[in-house]
């Protein structure tokens, strides 16, 4: 079993379970409970799935975190090489396509003049969900691609709220979606839950098969730690919000963070949801060569017992 565990996370409220687990030392506790020496956990920050992948593959990282769609792609691309595999989901939460253009009610209302900001290119979470939606609405998954523009969440939020920008729509995640909606200047066009037909995982933790096989107890301790964190968050949303604000040095209002945690479209769980649907879609549009037979193939065996999809 490894003596140290290097976990990289990105920025945002989606990583709340990791933050709680880290602040409360839950992983170390679970490791002790399993009878192994608690690994020294090192928390790193990296931006973007690509950097995560490279760090993971180069051996500079044990656990990477990213959106589920890039993780599926990475899983497919590394089938014969690094063989990456999911360790746990970080929670299900809806992403929302917002717009400040009052004329836009549905996807069909977008015109040549509109621009949709997405935080990442092509295989990122939001671009794929947008393609799935377009596929559903028009039968042509890349119909809206020409309107998309890549831009980080905060900048796109500033643009869309400023009102004098070409950016009229933004596919975004909590807390930006809530912030934008709360401003009253934008409205919702699309909810990713509607596209997927139900709740779906947003971010996942993944690692290499080799690491997972070599350190089964550490993995188990990690997932149990996350499970405990999730339970605690559900039980204590107010404290969770306070803990998040303190740990991240965030300037968001505690009430606002709490409201996000309580949101019905936000559910912190390690069980993957909708993974199969994402994988099937990626296979359909040719992003991956072959969809997994079951969503369980994407994840570490211990997770297969959970009620995922």
């Amino acid at each position: 079993e490894t003596g140290q565990l290097r976990i990289a996370q990105q920025f945002g409220i989606a990583y709340l379970p990791l933050i709680v687990a880290s602040e409360k030392g839950l992983i170390e506790e679970e490791a002790k409970a399993l009878g192994i020496a608690p690994p020294k956990v090192e928390w790193l920050r990296l931006s973007g799935a690509a950097a995560m992948n490279e760090a993971l593959i180069s051996g500079g990282l044990d656990f990477a975190t990213a959106g589920i769609t890039p993780m599926i792609l990475t899983w497919d691309k590394t089938r014969t090489t690094a063989k990456i595999i999911g360790v746990a989901a970080l929670g299900s939460m809806a992403n929302i396509l917002t717009t400040n253009n009052p004329n836009i009610k549905t996807l069909a209302d977008f015109t040549e003049k509109d621009r949709i900001a997405l935080p990442s290119v092509k295989v990122g979470f939001q671009p794929i969900v947008l393609q799935m939606a377009a596929d559903k609405a028009f039968g042509k998954y890349d119909k809206l691609d020409e309107l998309t523009v890549s831009m980080p969440h905060p900048d796109a939020t500033a643009q869309i709220l400023s009102g004098h920008s070409e950016i009229t729509a933004h596919f975004t995640s909590p807390p930006f979606s809530q912030q934008q909606l709360a401003s009253g200047k934008v409205h919702q066009v699309l909810n990713s839950y509607d596209v997927l037909g139900g709740p779906h995982t947003f971010n996942v933790v993944y690692s290499t098969t080799k690491f997972v096989n070599d350190n089964p107890k550490t993995i188990l301790a990690f997932v149990r730690g996350l499970d405990r964190a999730n339970e605690w968050i559900k039980a204590n949303p107010k404290e969770a919000a306070a803990l998040y604000i303190k740990a991240e040095g965030s300037k968001l209002a505690p009430d606002f963070v709490e409201s996000i945690i309580r949101d019905k479209d936000v559910n912190f769980t390690t069980a993957p949801e909708g993974a199969q649907k994402f994988a099937d879609f990626e296979a359909k549009v040719g992003l991956i060569k072959q969809a997994p037979a079951s969503w369980r193939d994407l994840f570490w065996s211990g997770l297969g017992e959970k009620p995922g999809s």
């Binding site: 992948n53 593959i57 890039p70 990475t74 092509k122 295989v123 890549s150 900048d155």
Partner: protein, 274 residues
């Protein structure tokens, strides 16, 4: 009058001229570099991180055949050249002002030390505000990345122009822009050239790094877009194919433009040795 007799000239031997003309040293170094890459990549055997040169070349080949890479490279080059030209032009204006007045001088020093360290993302809100999404903002940040180093190098060069040469120019009644353009610029040309080289490289870097942040739409993305999408899809060979394209463009520009420029200017004028 006692003429200095006409110089006695003979042609240099053909072999020597041929040897001096061809950059055979460069080819050897390039070949060595290519070999080192190939061997290291093979030894590493991790195509996801570092593909072999062979794999990269075949990815390059297929991306060229499909027409995607040439298209993207052209898109990038268009933006790049526009931004570069603009940046150099603004640098020329700023350094001219700086060379002509104490105020301009102080302003240039101040602006450079203030803005030069700022990364492109610092300008994002302003750029988007003023120029909107897409190419114009991209050009704006390229100008930012070219302007300061070029201005610094030019101005440093101006300051180092020998006093006798300055006086010789002033003696002809030259002043203002004409003095700068016809005396200071050619006299400082070695430094200006190295500034232009640095600026060129930074224009590339900025373009590639900014294409993602500055809102490129999928259809109009350049080589930065190509690299990023390839990277997101873990097509490492394609990523390196994109980078190789950047390197090749860099070598071509260096070999064709900067070398020639050096040869027909400062080398011919005896301002630099080699």
């Amino acid at each position: 009058m006692s003429d200095v007799a006409a110089p006695k000239l003979v042609r240099a031997p053909a072999l020597r001229r041929a040897l001096e003309g061809t950059p055979w040293r460069r080819f050897i170094i390039l070949a060595g570099f290519a070999l080192a890459w190939e061997l290291y990549a093979r030894w590493l055997d991790n195509a996801l991180l570092l593909p072999t040169l062979g794999a990269t070349l075949s990815a390059l080949w297929s991306a060229v055949l499909s027409g995607e890479l040439p298209n993207r490279a052209l898109t990038s080059l268009r933006v790049l050249i526009t931004g570069y030209a603009l940046g150099v032009a603004v640098a020329a204006v700023l350094t001219t002002l700086a060379a002509l007045s104490r105020w301009g001088n102080e302003a240039l020093g101040l602006l450079t030390s203030m803005f030069n360290p700022l990364p492109a993302i610092a300008l994002l809100p302003i750029a988007l505000l003023w120029f909107g999404v897409g190419t114009p903002s991209l050009i704006f940040v390229i100008v930012h990345s070219v302007l300061w180093p070029v201005a610094l190098a030019c101005y440093g060069g101006f300051l180092a122009v020998p006093p006798t040469l300055r006086m010789a120019g002033r003696n002809l009644g030259l002043s203002g822009g004409r003095f700068v353009a016809e005396i200071l610029v050619p006299a400082a040309f070695p430094q200006i050239l190295s500034g232009l080289r640095i600026g060129w490289a930074f224009a590339w870097r900025t373009l590639i790094a900014a294409e993602l942040v500055f809102g490129v739409s999928a259809r109009s993305g350049g080589i930065g877009w190509f690299i990023y999408t390839s990277r997101a899809q873990l097509e490492t060979a394609s990523v390196f194919a994109g980078l190789l394209t950047v390197i090749v463009v860099g070598l071509v520009v260096e070999g064709l433009i900067f070398r020639t420029l050096t040869r027909i200017t400062v080398q011919r004028w005896g301002q630099v040795q080699t």
